[in-house]
Symmetry: C2
Amino acid sequence: MSRVATTADAFNAVGEPSRRDILNYLVLQERAVGEIVSTLRLGQPSVSKHLRVLRDVGLVHVRRDGRRMMYRTNAEAIKPLHEWTGTFERYWKQQLHRIKDRAESETGK
Amino acid sequence: MSRVATTADAFNAVGEPSRRDILNYLVLQERAVGEIVSTLRLGQPSVSKHLRVLRDVGLVHVRRDGRRMMYRTNAEAIKPLHEWTGTFERYWKQQLHRIKDRAESETGK
DNA sequence: TTGACATATTCCGATACGGGTATATGTTGA
DNA sequence: TCAACATATACCCGTATCGGAATATGTCAA
């Protein structure tokens, strides 16, 4: 037994930089594959494969328009990631306060 | 040329489920490696390796305490991920409104 | 100094991944 | 029906990754 799944979850899907680029691009507006290819300067098969991964985890939606496939980001699928990272918010705020407090007590010395 | 870096960035580091578990655990309190191993039921070398990845991207801090190494989550390193996912917030809110509006107009019909 | 303890590193095998090339599939318009 | 177009899939290569076993490194206590 070796590596577990991976592409089967949104956290992992988003770990790939090109896929984040694609999500950033597709959230603004629905786009055809060819537009993604030329805008992001990636190979067409590469883009199709990234889209397949994103689709499998629900991060994008597709719609056929004639012979083109129109993709768009499904922002809701990103919500869980935002929520998970958000559970750490109180901790980084604490850390900032500690740093700030220490700085103030030092200047006040 | 093949796969790019990966372990060299926080997004990817967090893509691994065990590493998320470790971060969740270490944010509550500083812990020794052995505690992580027994609490999360993972192999010791495996944990050490995950910790090395997390450390390299700044997601955890270490401190030596005698012969033990005490790790804790560096919440601040998670902030960029929270911010990136946050850029999608307005879009999922829009989607929710659209869904809500449609539901209301349908019941009102 | 030595043995026990705690952690890190190395090595291995199986597999997943990403990019590229070639090819298959599906759709349109003539 | 057929050629052009748009996208998806299959395949290959080189590499990354994960887990586990074995081993190395570092630290303490006697």
